[in-house]
Every structure is written in structure tokens, then in C-alpha cells.
Amino acid sequence: MTMRIDAGRSFDAFDEQQRRKVAIIGARVESQLFGKDERALRHDVTINGMSFQVIGVFHSLSNGNQQQEEEKIYLPNDTLRYAFNQVGWVGNFVVLPKPGVQARVAEEDVKRYLANKYRVNPDDKGVFGSFNLQNEYDKIQGLFTGIKMFSWVVAIGTILAGAIGVGNIMLIVVKERTREIGLRKALGATPASIVLMVMQESVFITAIAGYAGLVVGTLVIQAIATMLGPRPSMLNVNSAESQLQTSKINLANQAADLERYQKLFAQHLISETDFNQFTMNFNVQKEAVGSAENAGHQRRRPDD
């Protein structure tokens, strides 16, 4: 139970031993059953015609089903058993495995133990029901890994495309300069110095274009962000989701554009700087969408 007692106290040994008719109620129970300026502490709540004194009011610290938790009323175990004729009877219970033990394994062990203890055929699945979250958790984890892998593939592909493009243009540059290189060689340039010259040039151009693209891309994203207005609130997952959809569509359009640009670039119809800038923009936007996607999933998960 992850809760904090706001008023009063939690149960103690006396409540259990003396089977006192006392209860700890959630904050929402208090607000529903009692008046706005009324405190539940010391008062009685009636459950099935039986009065229980409220000795504590708690609020839940769980972040998913907080509302549901705060609608609960807790009674001491023995009180519940004796007051509602449930002695010697267990409806369901929670098992928390030790750290490092798989929930799936623990689930099987507990069921086998129970089947053995109560002489039930272990193959009879109808006698003991159970539920554990591990399967669902694994599924979601798998989905995340898939998304991550996909974005890696896309990112590497984009970088590769950029690298090949730059390599291509350098090849053209070298071809164009055959005469210049020949002249330099005739005047005594070593092969190393010529390679160095070409390399320096390509690194210089790529660095300038890359940084320019990064800066422009960031500015564009910022401009779009300010135009879109304030960020969606935590509760407004739906609108965030639809925004995500639109930016995904934008991204798809841009991916198509990128391909077209690559073709143009291959035909030397646009300059290298333009191309790099576009690639950079694309990457930056893709990252923005990626993180929005992650945030969306994280926001959604506790409620599922």
C-alpha cells in the first residue's frame, strides 16, 4: 500500500487484537461522504449497517490509479473477518516476488504449491485463477525496443545517405581538378599533400554546412513551437497524440522530399550546402518527433 496518512493514524496491534471497528478511508471517500468543511476523523461510517470509526484519512502515492485507490476503505483484517463472517476464508491475495525472481515463475510456483496443498489436479486451470503484469510489461517493453531500433535504422540510413552524397561531390571535385593536380604534381607536390588538400576542403565544407543546418533547424523548430502555442498539458494526451500524428505526416512528406533532394543532388542540381541543411533539418525534426512519441507513451502508460 503506497499511501500517506493525512490525518489520524494507521492501524496498530490493538486494532487487530481487539477487533476494533475502526477504518482508514481514502481522501475521496472523505470528500464524498462528508461535508466540505467537515473532517471525517473520529466520525463513524456505516458499512452494511455496521458503524466503523474513522481513525485515519489517507491519500494515495500511486501515480496511475490514484483516484481508484483513494476510493478505498481499509479495515483491520480480523475486524473484517469477524464482522462480515469471513473467518478462515481467503478470496484472493497478492504475492510479491523477491527481487530478481521472475513474476511468471513465482506465479507458477504459487499455483503448483496451492494445487499440491489442496489436492487439486495441477492441470485443472479453473480452480486457482491468477494474474500478473509481466506479460503485458514485456509486450510494452518489446514495442519500445522496436521503436528504438526503427529510429536507429532511419538515423543511420540518413547519415549514410549524407556521407555518400558528400563522397560523391568530392569525387566530382577531384575529377574537375585533374589539371590542377597534375600541375601541382609536376611542381613537386607529394600524393599525401594532395589528399590532405582535398580532405581539408571536404571537412571544412561539411562542418560549415552541418553547423549552419543545425542552427537553422533549431531556429525553425523553435519558431514552429512558438507558433503552436503553449505545450499541451499532461492530461491532454489526445491533442498531443494528434499533434504527433500531424508531425509524423510532415515527417513522411519530408522523407519524400529528402529522396527528391537526394536525386537532385546526385544530378548536381542543388548545392551541397542546401542538401546538408535539409538533411540536418530532417534529423532534428525526426528527433523531436521521436522524443514526443516517447513522452506520449510514458504519459499514457500508467493509465492503461
Binding site: 493514524r9 476523523l41 470509526q53
Partner: protein
């Protein structure tokens, strides 16, 4: 009659204890005998004086 908040009480097996202030912010565990309880407060039969300061838990 002397009564304390039952939440401040520590119950171990058969005996009950409270932490009593012996110096500034120094607390000693002391055994007390309890009586009736109304759920919120519990009667202290012996082991505690009205001038004692106990630690709120």
C-alpha cells in the same frame, strides 16, 4: 486521567512504549501501561506524567 494520541504509541508484543524527550531533541524509549481507548486517544494508566513531552510519530 492522562491520554495520548494512539498514533504515538509503539506496541511490541505485550508491552507498549512511547519515546519521551530527555533533553533537547533527545528521546528515550519508555514503557507505559495503557487503558481504554476511544480509537483516537488512549488512556495512560502509568509510566507518564502530564509534564512529559513525547515524540510524535
Amino acid at each position: 486521567m492522562l491520554a495520548i494520541n494512539e498514533g504515538d504509541l509503539m506496541i511490541e508484543d505485550k508491552a507498549s512504549f512511547v519515546e519521551v524527550e530527555s533533553g533537547p531533541q533527545v528521546f528515550v524509549k519508555r514503557q507505559i501501561e495503557t487503558g481504554l481507548s476511544d480509537g483516537i486517544n488512549i488512556e495512560v494508566v502509568s509510566g507518564l506524567k502530564a509534564s512529559d513531552k513525547i515524540k510524535h510519530r
